[in-house]
Structure formats: structure tokens, C-alpha cells
Amino acid sequence: MTLLLRSENITKNYTNHCALDNVSIEVSEQSIYGLLGPNGAGKTTLIRIINQIISPDQGHLFFRDQALNPAHVHKIGYLPEERGLYKKMKVGEQAIYLAQLKGLKRQQARKLLKGWFDKFDLLPWWDKKVEELSKGMQQKVQFIITVLHQPELLIFDEPFSGFDPINVNLLKQEILRLRNEGATIIFSTHNMGSVEELCDHIALIDKSKKILDGNVRQVKKDHATHIFQLEMEGLKKPLENILDKPFEIIKTWKHNGHTMARVKVNAPATSNDLVKKVLDHSHLVAFSELTPTMNDIFIKNVTGKYPMETHDANHRINPEELPLEQ
């Protein structure tokens, strides 16, 4: 797979702190790349460097093996996290203006915009002032402006903040469609759950350093927790007396008369061994592995422990039940 964008050892220092420390990423063509990390980790700095808004103190960037230069600006579409529009300017006029700054001709921009506005139900607003639009509609306009000039690389910084669930879905579909049509996409977000299912690749950034990157499936595989949750009925003797060495009991608690337990299975034992042991002493109602979310993986990489290993019994059982916001 060819690389669209490559950064090599990017370092950026501000007067009082280091924003990026030796960060290298590789973004393959026609993939969705997630740049994940908490607020203030350095994601936006990296994105601004890719957009040539600021320049790195050290390191190099390559766009298709060419050193990144101002000519590449037209090949990149950028939706910043903090985004706005001229409030007093008419929507259509403003969209044309911003498209012109991306190198489109006026007539061409108008034609493309009309198509997009139609698709997003914005056509009736063409001649309205931006301040008359709802926040969601403004976000749609900004999205259109970002993708209008058909850039090879799209960079979305916290794209879903401010959208209602219906529009989030609309946007996700558009983004997947753009990827399928050949675009490469970089997502940057602190809300790791929101893009997990979209990303092919991820890089975790914390305190200006990249702490992990790779293919999403591989990362998840590498980060199997080996922690299993059991729900048992009529347990005859304490679990401590049933499970020995390779099994590590993290937590047990009562739930609706059932015994709940979270157990870590250390090699060479397997989940099958755990089930066999428990079956002899109780009626097993439910059994599942706790798969880590990207958020869990992040926490593990920062603190060395998964949240389910440290949190109390009320910690969620099913990753799908995770609220989107941390």
C-alpha cells in the first residue's frame, strides 16, 4: 500500500512547553487514520504542521514522497476543531469565497456547491446570512467547504462535536463514501469511542509523544486483556478456593443473587481451563471476555493497567454500553 503522508521525527517546542516530541506517522493511501489522545496531547499541533499553518522545529513531512510544500495546500482539506464562519456574510457567497481560497474557480465552485447544498438540504439557505443558520447547519456548510475541492487528504479535527446523532450518521456515511472514492482521511479526536469503528489505523498521542500506533485490528489483538467476566448461580464454595495460580481473581460481587466475578487468565492457562474449573462448582449463566476499547488501550498504555483491572465492580460489563463521552 502506498503512503500518502509521512512525518518523520516531528518536534515542535513552544516557549514554555514541548508540543510534539519526535513524532513519526505514516498514513496509507485511501485509509482512515485516527489520531487519538486527550486534549492538549499535541494532536492539533501536528495537524497544523501538516496543514503548513505552523512549521516544525525539527523533522520532515512528505506528501507522496515529495517534501511537503505550499503547492500541497490545495490537495488537503481541513476541518478544524474550533471552526467558524463570517456571521454577517451570506452562506453561498462565503462558501464560494472559501472555495476560491482553495484554488477553485468561481463558476466551478458555484456549480459544485449547488450540488452539495442540495444533498445536505441547504439550498434554501444559500442567500441567508450565516448567523441565521443553526449550529448544525453551519457545521454542514463547514464540512462541505472542507471536501469541496476534492482533496486527496482530508483532515477532520473533532468532526462530530456539535452534531446531532442523525447528522453524525450522515457525516460518517459521507466520509466512508469519500474514502471509498479514493480520499485518505485523518481523524483527530479525544473521544476515542466515536471513531474506533471508522478507523483502519490509529496512533495514540499523549503528552506530545506518540505512544502507540498500528492497524486497529492488530492493536486490539495485541491488547487482549485476558480478563473474563463470569456470572454463576449456586456457587458452592468461595471462588478463591476453586481457582489457583494461573487465575487471578480481580473482583467478585453479588448481582440479583448470582455471583459475579472478573478473572484474569494468565498463560499458559486458557479460557477453556477457567470454564472447566468453574463448571464443577456452579451453574455458569454467562461468560465473556472483556475486550478493551481504544480508550482502555490508551489508559493501559499511559498507566500500565486496564480500567477494568482497577475500577470497582460497577465498571461496565459490556464495552458497547460505554457512553460515547468519557
Binding site: E82, Y86, K88, M89, Y97, L98, Q100, L101
Partner: protein, 444 residues
């Protein structure tokens, strides 16, 4: 079109379409034209006659009052009571009563009026009576009338400036002072008005966060330059429309009411040797000259002597220079702060030199070629205002070119400085900005 060009076009178009711009564009020339036409109209209005009835019981003076300075005299050979009746019926504005004993006891003279007495008329009457009393007394003392006439010499000094090329030119200090002050104030207003538009524009882009979108397409410097140039062109457009409309209004007024604009005929050579002319002719000539010697007349005359093309070209240059100098600083402020309230602490040091120039302009006007005038018109921060104050008085080419050169260097420096602050500040949010923070940005 280059990207800076696209930005300039937006900044320009979005502003010239605003209602406030259109209103200012129409109001401005009306005000300016009023400045020019007003003296003529005032001259006309003051010609509305002030009617004075003369009741001369002594019979000595009633034919001595010539209608002049818009004061009309009518001799009423009636009693003072009847004359006062007439005044109450608004036939006259005032009644001058000269009692029989006036010559012996001048303090019995009375000028009656219903409203406050017209000062001009009172002064004129006093002047005539003093003159007549003196004549009478001199005649009584046996001095010949002809000799008396020859002694009379009205004095009015015409200031003449010797120009570099040796030509002489009539000088009208009141007019040049007025014009200097007006252009100084005008350039101050223009720089301030359009400079703060730059500040507000930058602040709007920063606080609405559209700048985050724009800087991914253009360099921060292009955005700043586009805004400054675009707004500068708006200022220039406004000024040019003002000038064209002002002169059109004046032209039309002049064509419609030519009698309003009677200027002194070309400078005549007169009074080379008063002994050569007989006293009667001399007096005649003096009166012709004095007829135009009213304040309004002098203003009209003085204005016609001003070199307007030079004034306008220098105004454009110093507006652009001063505007570029200050507006880049304003842009830097707009980029550094988060909201309008925070601008105050940074606005002060930028506006002080401009305000200082305006205040000093009033001193410079009293000595437009002094040391202070020279230095203040060299320092780029004050030169736009001070130079405009000086130019109507005539400025040596050396001063002009040196000042212009320094102004160009000055705005290149402030633009360079502003660009450094701008590119960092425009993307910085929620940070407490102090001078030391800005200093760090500059050093980066």
C-alpha cells in the same frame, strides 16, 4: 487572481456595500463642501441689511452715515418718540438718536434697539461719529478739509510670501492655518477610522474562528495583508469620492450662484507711492480694496490660492503611509487578544502617538517651519498628521522626501513586527496576553 487578491476583493466588496459606508460617502462631501461654501453663504447672509433710523436733532450728522458693512441708514426727520414707534412696527432694527447737544455732550448719544444691538453697526456708528466730531473740532480749530483728507490713511497689511523660485505669492495665514488643521484632523480621523476597522476585522476572524479555516488555505501574512490592503482601498475610495463630490458640489454651487464667489480681481499693483495719487483717488482705491476685505472674502480668496492637487496627492500618500503603519499595529492587537474588552491595554500605546500628533498639530500650526514641526514631521508615528498640517504652508522638498522615505521605512518595520505577532496570536486562544508574551512571539 492571487489569494491575497481574492481576500482584498472580499474585504473591499463587503465594506463598500455597507449602509454605513454609503451614508458616510454622501455625508462627507456635504460637510466638506459646506466648509467651502459656508464662508460665501455667511458673507451673503451677513449682507442682510441692518436698518438704522437716524433721528438727528442737531442736524449736523445725518448725511454722514454711508450705507456700509450691511448697515443701512435712513434719516427720519421726525421726533424720537415717533421713530421708536416705527421701530416697534419692525420698520427699523435700531434708532440712532443724536440730541441737539450731542456735539457738546457726546454721552447723550443713544442707539435704541429691541434686540441686542448689532455690534458691527455700533462700531461703525461710533467710528463715523468720532471721525465727524474730530473733523468738526479740527475745522473749528482752522485746519483745512483737504489736508484732513490727505492725512487719513486706512491700513490693511497684505502678507506676501517669497517662494523658493523667487515668485511672490499672496499669503493668507488664516486660510492656511485652517486648512492645515482640517487636513491634520481629517487624516487623523481617516487613519483611526480605517485602522480600527482592521482591528475589528481581525478580531472578528479570530473570535469567530473562521481564521482556523482560512489559514489552511493561505498564509497568515496573506490574510493580514489582504485585510489591510482591502480596507485601505475602501478608505481611498471614500476619500476620492469625497474629493470628487466636494468639488462637484462646489462647482455646481459656483455655477448656480456666481455672485456668491466674487473673488478679488487679480492682484493689482497699487499704492506704489501715495504722494503720486491725489487723496481723492487714493481713498477711492482703498475702498475698492476694502470691499473684498471681509473675513469671508479673504477665506474664499485664500482657498483659491491653495494648490489643491498637491494637497490631495500628499493627503493620499500620508493617509496610505500612516494607515499602513498604524493598521498593521492594529491588526497585531486584534490577533493578540481574545475579545474587544482586552484590546484597551494595547490600544493605548498605539493611539497615544496619533493623539499626540493631533495635539501637537495645533502648536505646529503657529510655527510650521520650526524645529518641533520638522522633527514631528520626520517621525513616522506623527508625520502623517503633522505633515498635513504643514503642507498648506509650503514644505521644502528635502523635508517632504525625507519624511516620505522615513514613513515608508516605518510602515515596513511595523508590518514586519505585526506579521510576527499576528501569525502566532491569531491561533492562540484563552491565554492571558501580556507585553512579555508578545515580546516572546516577536523573538520567535
Amino acid at each position: 487572481m492571487s489569494k491575497t487578491g481574492i481576500i482584498i476583493k472580499r474585504e473591499y466588496a463587503s465594506r463598500v456595500r455597507k449602509r454605513s459606508f454609503i451614508v458616510m460617502t454622501i455625508l462627507g462631501p456635504l460637510l466638506l463642501a459646506a466648509l467651502f461654501v459656508a464662508p460665501a453663504i455667511i458673507a451673503q447672509i451677513s449682507e442682510e441689511d441692518y436698518q438704522v433710523a437716524i433721528v438727528d436733532d442737531s442736524g449736523l450728522f445725518y448725511d454722514r452715515f454711508k450705507d456700509a458693512n450691511n448697515v443701512r441708514f435712513t434719516h427720519l426727520p421726525v421726533g424720537i418718540d415717533f421713530a421708536l414707534e416705527q421701530m416697534k412696527e419692525n420698520r427699523f432694527d435700531a434708532v440712532l438718536h443724536i440730541p441737539e447737544t450731542a456735539f457738546q455732550a457726546p454721552s447723550t448719544l443713544r442707539l435704541f434697539s429691541e434686540k441686542a444691538a448689532n455690534l458691527n453697526a455700533k462700531l461703525y456708528i461710533e467710528n463715523v461719529l468720532k471721525h465727524e466730531f474730530e473733523s468738526l473740532k479740527m475745522s473749528a480749530a482752522g485746519i483745512d478739509k483737504e489736508v484732513l483728507r490727505a492725512i487719513e490713511t486706512p491700513i490693511s497689511i497684505h502678507a506676501v510670501r517669497i517662494l523658493d523660485d523667487g515668485l511672490e505669492q499672496a499669503d493668507y495665514p488664516e486660510v492656511t492655518m485652517g486648512l492645515g488643521l482640517v487636513s491634520g484632523i481629517l487624516i487623523y480621523i481617516f487613519i483611526f477610522l480605517f485602522g480600527s476597522q482592521v482591528l475589528r476585522g481581525v478580531l472578528e476572524e479570530k473570535s469567530s474562528r473562521i481564521v482556523e479555516i482560512i489559514v489552511s488555505s493561505v498564509k497568515p501574512f496573506q490574510l493580514m495583508a489582504g485585510k489591510i490592503i482591502g480596507i485601505g482601498l475602501v478608505g481611498l475610495t471614500q476619500f476620492l469620492i469625497w474629493i470628487i463630490l466636494t468639488f462637484s458640489i462646489i462647482g455646481v454651487t459656483q455655477a448656480a450662484f456666481p455672485e456668491l464667489f466674487r473673488f478679488t480681481p487679480d492682484e493689482q499693483v497699487y499704492i506704489t507711492s501715495s504722494q503720486m495719487l491725489n487723496p481723492e483717488d487714493l481713498k477711492q482705491q482703498m475702498e475698492t480694496i476694502q470691499q473684498f476685505d471681509t473675513t469671508a472674502g479673504r477665506i474664499l480668496e485664500g482657498l483659491s490660492a491653495i494648490n489643491f492637487p498637491v494637497m490631495i496627492l500628499s493627503f493620499i500618500f500620508y493617509f496610505l503611509g500612516g494607515y499602513l503603519l498604524y493598521s498593521s499595529l492594529f491588526a497585531a492587537i486584534g490577533a493578540a487578544v481574545d475579545n474587544e474588552a482586552d484590546t484597551q491595554q494595547f490600544m493605548l500605546p498605539v493611539t497615544i502617538p496619533l493623539l499626540f500628533a493631533l495635539i501637537m498639530g495645533q502648536m505646529v500650526i503657529n510655527n510650521p517651519s520650526g524645529d518641533m514641526a520638522f522633527w514631528l514631521s520626520m517621525i513616522p508615528l506623527t508625520s502623517p498628521v503633522i505633515m498635513m498640517v504643514r503642507i498648506p504652508f509650503g514644505v521644502p522638498y528635502f523635508d517632504l522626501f525625507l519624511s516620505a522615505g522615513l514613513l515608508i521605512l516605518g510602515f515596513m518595520f511595523t508590518t514586519w513586527l505585526a506579521a510576527k505577532i499576528y501569525r502566532t496570536g491569531i491561533l492562540m486562544h484563552g491565554k492571558k496576553i501580556t507585553y512579555s508574551v508578545i515580546w516572546k512571539w516577536i523573538k520567535q
